[in-house]
Symmetry: C2
Subunit: 381 residues, 2 copies
């Protein structure tokens, strides 16, 4: 354990010192992580679908490597910078799931492709396609692109079917250095719909629209090798959609409270995957009876929605209390936690929580045996 | 500019490549930052008070250095890890403003003191004082401590006056390696009270209680060299409290929308300091008319309260749209931003926004001339 602490502190360029406790950091039981990866891989293989896990969840080349070893056809990166980190770590193929609209970002993508990296990217505008095409020409290479369809969500993607067809036609005729290889359709609004039946109905409705657009594209002579989308919330729904070739599942590797709160097939919780990620904090203050303060607030947990959940303290609730702290309200008669004790939390939302930390502490058989860097942390550009 | 981009990308261990645009990163006009630092220093000097800026806001040794150069008596660190980074960078004195409750953290503090660092820390429990005292004895040194008073906020600090006196007495008689040098009283609940008069009334009420506790401590023979507290929201209020020796102001270096929304002396906004920190994003998608998507969401802005504010686009509003994106709703007839254009934002809350980034881009005379690392980023333990 002290060797691990040394390694962490050395990596931070801090005085190396023995620690007898884990720091309040993200903690992964490796076996649970591997079981989640294996379970998703087997499930989709049995359905005849490929897995293209989203690395924006974990930002870790080590976890991406395990997903690829389990049969993933590639990984997704949310942004160009995330793709740079993954490619640099030897990970590929990488699909960049947000469009770019500037020559600088396009040049980074073309640069990766020119170095032989297996990189694909979505496009959703003429301008974005133009800058990519120009960058690819400059490097004398071709870039594989997918048209991003807006599932009537209004975030990214082309909304109107006629505009999708027009962009595809333009790519064919005017973008000599871009190859249209498929479409992306990620219905983010569906993932956390409560109850499996409701989620299924909404997701299939989105996919019916997407399938009709795919059919129109194929009728117009476009080849769509890849139709990618879906997430952890629809991993057992979208695999039944004929058009879908692969699923961009992300959170399943860790799970979080947001997904645990969503109804699964049994109408209760989405419990097909294990919680493999917790944040370890320490109880540092007790200003009044019935409450205790832990050393983790907005800077240690994603804070845009629900609070984190104490993993081992039934009836105890966490309340955000500023940047640095949270306060636990304890049930009547609770004896724990005591000052100085550790308190483990299920993350409220795993992706933005992971993005707050530099390392995962990895447990095997109850002991920390490795630190994995969150290599793409902060890569939001 | 490309040299700066090279430096950033090299620091990230990424392929070095020329960029013709700033990345969506935190951007500081250096002159505004220095004016804020200077303004606070002069203001408190005229009041006969010291400034002990809170480094949890900026996590930057370079900014701490400028605050000390302007006359600050030291800086604050929220956590032990933050203090380690600051001391390692040559910054001091450092006051750690959260208590510790474990031998491991106490050993880190004692280790710093044993190396000659000028470090002080708050205590708010017998247990915390015991572990600190044991660690100090082990190193054969003494540690200066301040008792943290709970301003009836219920986060950290000792709540009841009798318990404060009991802890002080115990420190005196039983903690040979700890020296009580003062008290900390930070009324976080007051900082964002709307309207200067209301904020003043609430803050002075808290301080009257704190002053009576200080008087009782002095009556009991305790020496209180330091009475520290206050924040940006009360910088021009708490300086009028006799007991106060120094102010732990933090956000004034950058300002943010939360503080801009608070009523200042003129009853309008807290406008004594300039906004010196913005986040630069890029418009990357336009799925429908009247809206445009920028490449920054929960991973790029603090998201626990209000949204960020577009700095140069009156009438345009930002809406969080997931981890990676936000959508701007444009006023009728708006011509900008166009796809590919940069959009600058005032941060919603500066501290947790800063904690998402690895570097500040520093502007001077309209051009980026330096990258400052957010060295204590992620130091939430």
């Amino acid at each position: 354990m002290s060797a691990i602490a040394d390694q962490l502190l050395a990596a931070h360029d801090l005085p190396v010192i023995q620690l007898d406790e884990p720091l309040p950091v993200e903690d992964i039981p490796e076996a649970a992580l591997d079981r989640n990866i294996d379970r998703m891989a087997r499930f989709q293989a049995a359905k005849g679908k490929a897995v293209r896990p989203h690395a924006k969840t974990h930002k870790s080349p080590e976890i991406a490597r395990r997903q690829l070893a389990a049969g993933a056809v590639g990984v997704c990166a949310a942004k160009v910078s995330e793709a740079l980190v993954l490619v640099r770590a030897g990970i590929g193929p990488v699909l960049i799931t947000s469009p770019v609209a500037t020559p600088a970002k396009a040049a980074l993508v073309a640069g990766l492709a020119a170095q032989g990296a297996d990189v694909q990217i979505v496009v959703d505008s003429r301008l974005g396609a133009q800058v990519l095409d120009a960058a690819a020409r400059e490097h004398g290479i071709a870039i594989d692109v997918l048209i991003d369809l807006d599932p009537l969500l209004g975030r990214t993607g082309v909304r109107e079917p006629a505009d999708v067809l027009a962009l595809a036609a333009w790519l064919e005729t005017d973008a000599a250095a871009l190859r249209l290889v498929g479409i992306q359709h990620y219905a983010g609004q569906v993932m956390h719909v409560s109850g499996h039946a409701e989620r299924q109905a909404k997701s299939l409705q989105c996919w019916r629209r997407a399938e009709s657009i795919c059919a129109a594209l194929r009728d117009a002579g476009h080849r769509l090798d890849v139709v990618t989308g879906a997430g952890t919330g629809t991993y057992d729904i979208d695999c039944n959609v004929d058009a879908v070739t692969d699923l961009q599942v992300g959170s399943y590797v860790f799970m979080d409270q947001q997904y645990l709160d969503v109804g699964g097939r049994d109408g209760d919780v989405l419990d097909d995957f294990e919680v493999s990620l917790t944040v370890l904090t320490t109880a540092i203050s007790q200003p009044k009876a019935g409450a205790i303060t832990v050393d983790c607030g907005f800077k240690g947990f994603a804070s845009e929605s629900i609070p984190p959940t104490p993993r081992d303290l039934p009836g105890t609730r966490y309340h955000f209390f500023g940047d640095e702290h949270g306060v636990l309200t304890l049930p009547q008669g609770a004896q724990e936690p005591l000052l100085g004790q550790r308190v483990a939390f299920v993350t409220p939302h795993c992706d933005p929580t992971v993005n707050l930390y530099d390392y995962y502490w990895v447990h095997r058989d109850g002991a920390v045996h490795a630190l994995w860097p969150v290599s793409a942390r902060g890569c939001s550009w």
